[in-house]
Subunit: 233 residues, 2 copies
């Protein structure tokens, strides 16, 4: 528990959960929010513990991972700025379904789950925005499932990179850069393959000039070529 710092309502306008809301509602939500810096490496919450807060990221990046009863782990999602995380338990069983760790220095907003629920009850637009966000993630999870069941590792890795570009891409001089620092292990985990296979495929793409690795960031030199690999052409 950190000290309360007043939250600027303008910061909330960049969070998809609060899209298309009048200033008065943003101020109401800001008044209930707490802001907190998340130093790189910080474990924000643990899988299975009561969801004490509902979170949104103002800047930085957060890795969401989930382990099974056998300890095997997958990377569920990378959270970028403007995205919510650890909010669904408010409406399900009240337990965080996964671990969350800051992958760079980051800043979050958070709410008491009861306050977020009250906000959704008073302003249906917030609940509707949340359906859209969770629905889009469900669509992506189903896409990943289909890929994992039916597609080769290189196509899955290409799709993974394209989805990350879609989520957090920015244009640079030599291509499109993914705005998350990524280890090869992260790519392997998201694409559902082994570190060995992911390393082999990424190294080949780097040799071919498709991909550039710079300061723990990946730059896709040719999104068109990546798209062709993803489509199996």
């Amino acid at each position: 528990m950190t000290a309360l710092t007043p939250v600027d309502a303008k910061a909330l306008a960049d969070i998809a959960l609060f899209a298309a809301l009048p200033p008065a509602v943003l101020e109401e939500a800001a008044a209930m929010a707490r802001t907190r810096p998340l130093p790189r490496g910080l474990r924000i919450f643990d899988q299975g513990e009561p969801a004490g807060r509902a979170h949104a990221l103002l800047s930085g990046g957060v890795r969401i991972t989930q382990a099974g009863s056998d300890g095997e782990e997958i990377l569920v999602r990378l959270i970028g700025s403007g995205e919510i995380f650890g909010c669904v338990p408010v409406l399900t069983d009240g337990l965080y379904p996964a671990d969350a760790t800051a992958i760079v220095d980051a800043v979050e907003l958070s709410w008491d789950p009861a306050d977020l629920l009250a906000l959704m009850q008073r302003h249906s637009r917030i609940a509707i925005n949340m359906v859209a966000i969770v629905g889009k993630r469900l669509g992506e999870a189903q896409e990943r499932l289909r890929e994992l069941a039916t597609q080769s590792a290189d196509r899955r890795i290409a799709r993974t990179l394209l989805r990350l570009l879609d989520q957090a891409g920015c244009r640079t001089g030599d291509g499109l850069r993914i705005d998350f620092p990524l280890r090869r292990k992260d790519i392997a985990d998201i694409a559902g393959t082994t570190l060995h296979t992911a390393s082999r495929i990424l190294a080949a793409w780097q040799r071919d000039g498709l991909l550039i690795s710079r300061n723990r960031h990946l730059v896709i030199a040719s999104p068109e070529a990546m798209d062709r690999i993803a489509e199996g052409n």
Copy 2:
């Protein structure tokens, strides 16, 4: 487009989307709904077409499948009575993300997407119920992803059967029966394995008395033993 038949508001009380709503709201939603019989085998909607209606199942079962650009298909979900389907596009891109087919004679309710959106705007509880439903499905999709990436086929099939019991199980004299008619191909598709592997595993469990197949339905004779397989013990 079938003729309008008046819908009994009481029927809506069994649909999770309308849980915990006062009778007046159920009547409002019923007045906007259309009911329609779905004969077994009917294709209810096609992946990629504009989502002309938002659906809920009053009785029967519906298979939701999704194909990739390469034609490879997965079984996304089986929908049982009281569940919604084809409702998320109302809040995302307006296109059905998958195909829906009746697997037994069934009855659905449906709404004009604009009417469902208006209902959610007026009654935040409906939007909140939808977050809970979609959030639960997201959790299940992530669980399937983790299993597919990390677990053996027999454990994935055992988890699939246990999840189906959870969704549509009923007690019989010799165990717990899954209330959907299931082909071995369905089990294989949900668990993300081949028909050959699923058939081999299911046949072994039938020989061992763990599983009984009767009139296209599966009965789990010992849910405890199935649970041990799912947990890898």
